[in-house]
Symmetry: none
Subunit: 204 residues, 2 copies
DNA sequence: CATTATACTGTATAAATATATAGTATATTT
DNA sequence: AAATATACTATATATTTATACAGTATAATG
């Protein structure tokens, strides 16, 4: 992180204060009003300087598209969506699948994650994953053998242990003797890995 | 607070998730994209309904001028100690037993709780409680049959199902067939109930 | 049975906003 | 001495965005 100039610090503080006060970031004009600038370009150039120094991110084209980069994890809390294991289709954050959102501190689990998945069924019982548990899912394709993955095979979504047995053969193994392994031949069947489990929460 | 419709809840969640993801609220068009609406007016009317019911505030004329009203639940976070199952003696919050502290929002589980207990052994495996899991423990003497309790019998601390079989007989039942029930005659043996499990967290 | 709330599509537009361009001036670095 | 970063004013404009208006349809309410 490069050093910030006093004026840039003022602009950064102004953005933070504005967000705290209103709930959304300021426009260039808002910053000018707050800090007494007479040209929107004053704000613009400061914003670009802050962006270059990585203090903020600016989403191009979006109004008020400023977000403050906060690499240090201060017990900031986040709202994470809880999605259900929909029988057909992958768990998506977009639509009717979001059950509710759960407030959880950033860095709660060792790895960061993207959403919670509500578990249906007992196929991972012996891994201590019970019905209605919430799995913290990190969307990633970096899977190692033995990871617990959220996998979609032809519109069916399941939670299983991942094991690549051969270059084109993946085994999805349940942790329950009442269920059997799923062998997926990647040349015949489409397998999409939604992500992997990085944690679990049970409310009882 | 008036009651919210399922669809309005989705829109509200969508706003919250969008803010988490981007740092700023969505536009009407953004909401449509996320939820699959084809007219910006769909988002607009839902927003106005949410505003009328006081779930959100909308700043007139401002782009992305949506803020979520959440005066009551301020997602206050607390530091909870993680204590180990010390072989002799009850889990105390004395500093030598505190492994570390975990930041967790208030009201994270349905019931409030006092500390986390690091689980040793697999005696509650079939209840989905695995080695190294963290049990959220509420210090209480109000125990019902079937509750998962943290019990101390003569300096030995265990986690078990609680069942009062007779006025003076308590059974502490494991959830693992390799372990056997512990029958406690309250007239002969001292049983102290440390508290009960109200939730579980697994970091993996 | 009329009214109101919910839940949408589709179109239009004034206002809000990001952002480029053209300058001026000072301090710092190479 | 030239280049670069900072720190502004002033103007212009394409795009983004909020928001109104016109419909359709269904369920709930009084």
């Amino acid at each position: 992180m490069k050093d910030i100039t006093p004026q840039q610090q003022k602009v950064l503080d102004c953005i933070q204060v504005y967000i705290n006060k209103t709930g959304f970031p300021p426009t260039r004009a808002d910053i000018c009003r707050e800090l007494g600038f007479k040209s929107p370009n004053s704000a613009e150039t400061h914003l670009r300087a802050l962006e270059k120094k990585d203090f903020i991110s600016i989403e191009s084209g979006a109004s008020r598209g400023i977000s403050i980069n906060n690499p240090e994890i201060k017990h900031e809390a986040n709202e994470y969506p809880i999605v259900g294991l929909v029988a057909a289709g992958s768990p998506t954050l977009a639509s009717e699948n979001v059950e509710k959102v759960l407030n959880c501190p950033k860095g709660f689990f060792e790895s960061d994650f993207d959403y919670f998945l509500r578990v249906r069924g007992l196929s991972m019982k012996d891994a201590g994953i019970m019905e209605d548990d919430l799995i913290a899912v990190k969307k990633t394709q970096e899977i190692k053998n033995g990871d617990i993955v959220i996998a979609r095979i032809e519109d069916e979504v399941t939670v299983k242990y991942f094991q690549r047995s051969a270059p084109n053969i993946v085994h999805l193994k349940p942790a329950n003797e009442d269920f059997s392994d799923i062998e997926v031949n990647l040349e015949e069947t489409e397998l999409y890995i939604e992500g992997k489990s990085v944690g679990l929460i049970r409310e009882n």
